[in-house]
Each structure stands twice: as structure tokens, then as C-alpha cells.
């Protein structure tokens, strides 16, 4: 497979995993088929749509590429019929979700840099790409977004991966290997945080 074909396949794989996580949230909330498709789609595509609106890339990729619609539908169909089995695979889902996080924070940062944003703003939009869909999923499902309070390291690994890509770009280092390295850093930090229970700090003086 060529480089762009690999990148596109990875992108759709990440979207699939995020869509599965959205569809499972719909099962937990006892939503109907409409709610499941909406949560799957918004979790998978929401972060990228917000990024594309901010950088002026309209229509957003989600509205120009057929795969971006079909993959969340496929994930919804899978979860609709076999959610008990998918739920049993949840540890694996978490691992794939961490891979999606690493992928989206890096590709999101690169796209923002390509559109001329400063490194700081590109990093911000890289993080938005990675975590924005989950934030929208939680708001629609009636929860405070878990990334805001649950102290798991989720946004911070995305920040690490995004910052690594922006730093490499500033040092004129480009290419798939650089992006992959940064994505692996974010993935590894997320997996280690889950494994060892690393927690984001609370404001000083707020008891655990």
C-alpha cells in the first residue's frame, strides 16, 4: 500500500473505533437506533468537523468523503446487533481508542499547520480533533464531558502527541515516520496512564 492509502486506512480505522465507543455509550443510555447512529457519528467525526470549521476547510472532510459516513454506520450496525460481545471486548476497545487518540492528535495538528495556523494554535486544534468528538458525545448523552473531570490522562497524551508534531515541524522534520513517532508517544502515554492509574491534578487544596 502507498503512503496516502495507509494514512487513509488508518484514519478510517480510528473513526471506526471512536464510532464504536459512541455507539456503546448509546447502549448504556438506552437510546434508540437514531440515538446510536447520532452518538456514533458525532464521537467519530465531531472533533474533525470542529477543527475544519475553525481552519476554514469547508465542507469539512466528514461531508466530502463517503467513508466518513459509512464507517460510523457500520460501527453502529455492529454494536446494534452484537453489543454484549463488543462490551466484553472493552479492554481491547480502550486500546484501539488510545491508538485513535494518538492518530487524530497528530493528523489534526498537521492539517492545522497546513492551513497556516501558528504552532500553538495547531496544537490546540490537534487536541480538539482527538477529544472534541468525545466531548460532544458526552454532552448529547446528558453527561458532563468525562475529559473535564475524570482525571484520567486523555487530553494530556493528545497534547503530548500534538506538541511533538508541531515541534518536529518547527525543526523542519516531516514525513510519515515523524508523525508515526509522535502518535506512538501519545498512545504510549495513554496506555501507561491507564496501566498505572496516573491522574490529572485537581486545583490546589481540593480534596481527592
Amino acid at each position: 500500500m502507498s503512503g496516502p492509502a495507509v494514512a487513509s486506512a488508518l484514519d478510517l480505522a480510528g473513526i471506526f473505533v471512536f464510532a464504536v465507543s459512541g455507539a456503546l455509550a448509546a447502549v448504556r443510555q438506552r437510546l434508540d437506533v437514531v440515538g446510536m447512529v447520532v452518538l456514533a457519528g458525532i464521537t467519530a467525526l465531531g472533533g474533525g468537523i470542529v477543527r475544519d470549521l475553525m481552519i476554514g476547510a469547508v465542507p469539512p472532510a466528514a461531508f466530502t468523503d463517503l467513508g466518513y459516513v459509512l464507517v460510523p454506520l457500520a460501527a453502529s450496525a455492529l454494536v446494534f446487533f452484537w453489543h454484549p460481545q463488543v462490551t466484553r471486548l472493552f479492554p481491547a476497545v480502550l486500546l484501539f481508542d488510545a491508538a485513535g487518540l494518538g492518530l487524530f492528535c497528530t493528523t489534526g495538528t498537521l492539517k492545522a499547520l497546513d492551513h497556516g495556523l501558528s504552532p500553538v494554535h495547531a496544537v490546540l486544534l490537534g487536541v480538539v480533533t482527538a477529544v472534541g468528538g468525545g466531548v460532544l458525545r458526552d454532552v448529547l448523552a446528558g453527561h458532563i464531558p468525562s475529559v473535564l473531570y475524570d482525571r484520567q490522562l486523555y487530553a494530556l497524551p493528545a497534547l503530548l502527541g500534538a506538541a511533538a508534531v508541531a515541534a518536529a515541524d518547527a525543526a523542519d522534520l516531516h514525513g510519515g515516520a515523524v508523525t508515526a513517532g509522535a502518535a506512538v508517544m501519545a498512545f504510549a502515554m495513554r496506555v501507561l496512564a491507564m496501566r498505572y492509574g496516573w491522574r490529572a491534578p485537581l486545583p490546589r487544596g481540593v480534596p481527592d
Copy 2:
């Protein structure tokens, strides 16, 4: 009246009905006058604004046409002073709401097709036009959007109307009669669903 004048009058009528439904939600939540105007406006205009942002039609129609601001204000004034009477007319409001649903899913799809989106993406944005305002209304009012869980057929009739318009367009069938036919299909499915209590399916194995 000419064709465009009829289309514009229907559009404002649909906006009025959606705004009334938003203003009534504000009464139920005991919001103040600001909350009522905001919910009326967002319910009536939210779906179209999201669609216009996605297709790059900025400023969105809601920010270029004075009627789109004045009609929700008029609906708010009506509900502010006479909400007990309006509430008593609720069965009629539901019927008009179904008409607005049929209208917006078809005109939204057409506008997206006009801006060069693929049929699948245009259908998606047609549904967003029809149900997006209600989703934003429910989120602002502190509820899970009813379209995600209440199993009423609401998004699915919009999907039917949007798909009919896109299929006709693909078959090179255009014009007001085609759009009206698709809108009537969506309207009829919505009304029949209410009359006979048709329900959207839950994920397999989730008890009623």
C-alpha cells in the same frame, strides 16, 4: 403568488412553528423571557445554521434575512402572553411541526446539493436541517435530545423526505412539485407514526 414567494412564505411558516415549540419548552422549564427568546430562536434556526456552516454558506441565511429574526421574536411574544391557549392547541402544533419537518428536510437537502455535496451528504444535512434545532433546544434546556431516545419516528421521516429529494435529483427530476411530494411523504410518515404509535427499534436485547 410566484413560486419563490410561496417557498419563502412556507419557510417562514415553518420557522414560526418550530419557534413556538421552542418557546413552549421554555415555559415548561420556567425560563425567563431571555430563555424563551433564545430557545425559540435556536429551535427555529439552529438546524439551518449548522447546515449553512457545513456547506460554507456564510453568513448563514439566519444572519442575512430579517424575517428569520423577526418571526421567532413574534412567536416568543405570542407564547409569552398566551401560552395557556397555545398549549391547548398542542395537537395542532404537532401537526404543523410535522409540516415544518417535511419542509426543512427537503429544502435543506436541496440547498446542500446546490452547494455541490454528494447525495449521501446532502441527505445527512437535510436531516440536520430538520432535527438540529430541536437537538440544540433540548441540550440548552438541560435534557438529552428527545430525538435520541424517545423512539418516536421523527428523524426517520426526515430521512425519508431527504432521500426522496436526493433520489429525484439523481434521476434529474426537479421542481416544486417534486420537492412538495417529498415533503408530503415525510409529513405523512410522521403523522402516521404519531397516529399508530410506530416506534424506532432499540438495540437488540435491550428490553422495552
Copy 3:
């Protein structure tokens, strides 16, 4: 200092105050450091981002100016370490917040007029600039936006300031003194409303 330098300094001061209010909301909700930074940023920048998306000014100012990222981070750091002290200063925070309200409703209206919107739509976006960030903060924090129900005069002073700027513009009156006068009107109305407990009306017949 030159006029533009003063305007820019005031703008960043307003963003700082709004960010402090977002960060304090994060403390009350016991969010972690990620939640604090997100709420600070969205409260300070959310209204302006929505306005810029609507008028087609992309990337929004928040994504082109480094100060718009650094100031909310500084506000978050302040509240993270010294929130008990900041909370004790809350009456002063409310006063500065009223100043930010006056500032943003007027500058937001002017920017929308500059982009060719009608006076009515520009006023609407001026109010969105001033109150939109707080609405997004409340939604993310899991609350109904306080501006929709709490009957404090918050959106109405913003409406007054925005309308004053648009009326002056229609009368061909321009310049910093006009803007400052309109901002002071909004500020004064907000402060008087707090001082004397002025309340927005409920729909007719809804008991207090």
C-alpha cells in the same frame, strides 16, 4: 498608548476576567486541571468564536492571536493555585465581568457591522459575543445556561450596548468615544441591575 493598543489591551483584560469566571466554575464543579483550562478557554473565547464563524472570519481571532490562548492559560494558573483568594474577591470579579460584558457586546457588534451584516443581525451577534461563552461554559459544566432562567439582567444590558453601537453606526457616528459610551451604558445597566435586584420577566401567569 495608541487607540488600537488600548483596544487590544482592553480586549485581553476582558478575556482574562471571563476566563477567571470559567476557571472558578471548574473549581465549584470539582473538575480537574483539564476541565479548568477548557472552561476558562471556552468562557473567554466561545462567544467570539461563534461570532467569527457566523460572519465568515475564519480562522476566528482566537486561533490567530497568541494572546487569546496565553491569557486563559494564565487565568487558569492563577485560579488553580489561589482559588480561595480569588473567590474572596468575587464581588470585584462580578464588577470586572460587567465591564467585559460591556466591552464584548460593543466590539462584537462593530465587527459584525464591518463584515456587512445588517444592524439587527449585528446586534444579535454582539449579544452572542458577550454571553455565548458563558452559555457554552454552563452547558459543558452540566447546567442549564444561567442566562436562560436566572432572571438577572445579563443579556439585556448586552442588548442595550449592542443596540446603542448599531444605532450610532446607522447615524454615522463612529470612533472610540462612541464605542466606549455604549460599553459604559451596558456596564452601568448591569451594575444597577445587580445593585437593585432588577429581574427579567417570566411568561405571563407563571408564578415567581
